[in-house]
Symmetry: C2
Subunit: 295 residues, 2 copies
């Protein structure tokens, strides 16, 4: 198999890895060159600046996942409709240089007349399946827009997006709650966090639960420095209430700081979880490259 230059090109950052034919990650790089920072037509030169030495190998294959495939990115790669596995994704790659550089398409699905979309997470999902290993799982990718993914027969059957990270930031920075919150989030206070998770289960909607962050501060029942943890528990707890009622086992893929919070919240609700980090991206892109060679 050829060597792989794997690129995870998101909205605010670019991460890349040089991966050996056997899947070993030989070197990793990150740059603050997300697609929002790239001028029109500037994508080839940013890739060259970041990974030019790796691409000097004429046999290297370069696979780019993430928002680089969006309308605002390098080249719009139309979404691949679910159910979708590596076969469907490999056939839908958007080749920028034939057999050399390709953008990985995101996935779309539809429920009750409303579409949902992801870009980049699909690679992490398949990476997690390789790491488990498993052909079926319920996988959660927490973040600004969390993705809840149902996998069966090694294909993504459906998924749903929850704007949890964004709602937390909106409440944290722009709502009335911001007035009684400290300037910095500080460390995680586990008791305040799990209290928030529990209250979210009982209250039935974040529209109502969020006001408890105001009244508990007003009545001085939660100290100000613990309030960011409580609010984080409310938002993550709301996501779990709606997305995972009665779930018993989930797979988490994301940063260590975030998967730790979700694991803690799930534990509070009696659900076990296993977590993966950035390795899922590289493993997923390597598996996709292998699929291409075997096609």
């Amino acid at each position: 198999m050829r060597s792989l230059v794997a690129v995870d090109w998101g909205t605010t950052s670019l991460r890349a890895a040089r991966i050996a034919p056997d899947g070993a990650v030989l070197e990793e790089r990150a740059a603050p060159r997300g697609i929002l920072s790239v001028p029109p037509g500037g994508f080839p030169s940013v890739l060259q600046e970041t990974c030019g030495d790796w691409l000097a190998d004429p046999a290297a294959l370069c696979l780019v996942s993430g928002m680089a495939g969006s309308r605002q990115g390098w080249r719009e790669a139309p979404y691949c409709a679910c159910p979708a596995g590596f076969g469907e994704i490999a056939r839908s790659l958007c080749w920028i240089e034939p057999d050399r550089i390709a953008v990985v398409p995101g996935l779309s699905c539809e429920a009750r007349g409303v579409p949902d979309v992801m870009r980049g997470e699909e690679v992490q999902v398949f990476g997690a399946l390789e790491l488990l290993p498993a052909r079926a799982a319920r996988i959660v990718l927490p973040g600004t827009h969390s993705k809840w993914v149902e996998v069966a027969d090694a294909r993504v059957q459906s998924f749903a997006t929850f704007m949890s990270g964004e709602f937390y930031a909106l409440l944290r920075q722009h709502s009335i709650l911001a007035r009684t919150l400290p300037a910095e989030d500080g460390e995680l206070h586990e008791d305040a966090f799990t209290r928030g998770v529990r209250h979210a289960q009982e209250s039935g909607s974040l529209l109502h639960a969020a006001f408890s962050a105001r009244t508990l501060a007003l009545f001085e029942r939660v100290p100000a420095q613990e309030m960011p943890s409580y609010l984080s528990g409310l938002v993550i707890g709301e996501e779990l209430r709606a997305a995972a009622p009665g779930a018993s086992e989930l797979v988490l893929v994301g940063s260590a700081a975030l998967t730790r919070r979700y694991a803690l919240a799930l534990q509070e609700l009696g659900c076990s979880s296993r977590s993966f980090g950035a390795e899922a991206t590289w493993r997923g892109l390597h598996a996709l490259a292998r699929t291409l060679e075997n096609a």
Copy 2:
């Protein structure tokens, strides 16, 4: 009975009415002199500027409701604990000039270890009871922080706050959804609004439902100029999903623009409603004055 100077002193505005002993509203005024605009110690002079001619009547009684009774207001009037009717509120008035000028306390209640509070809405609730007339009702006061109030035996038994107006503004102005929304809300598009209301019932959480405003715009299934109506339907629909599952009859108190939206959403869900506007405030303060005279 004495004549009444009724004042609804909120965060951003001050509204006042001169009310005859029989309850007739003789004159109304409004000024952009909410408590946030009043310097420390400045409350007596702002009241004098706004209603000095009415207060020249030495027999006039002046009752002030709303955020003027908060910690940031004229004088902090401690919350009156539920269950509470006019008897409890009359006994808890915070007198600034004895038998002459009083601040009306807000209400507090507690559910599952978490307090909830209101200031100003309690007067509207009792005004609505007078207008119905009724001694029991389920009353909704939509707004930045909507209040859902359970009244039995002419006393507020409990209530719950939903931060619906604030969530709408956060999503409208500061979220990723803002990018695909027109600058102005424009008129209400009823079809897009009720579509949002229905989707909120099915999706189980605004964290998930809100993302549909992104994807429906992305796939051009809802025109941009209808998107503010759709988003408003999502938020109000989420409030109704959580607060009023299976409700058959509600009383709405608020601005005509807002009660119209709630009435439309409730109709979509098979719930009838009756609406009152600003008259509820004046009727409530008049009833409180009558309670004082009869005490």
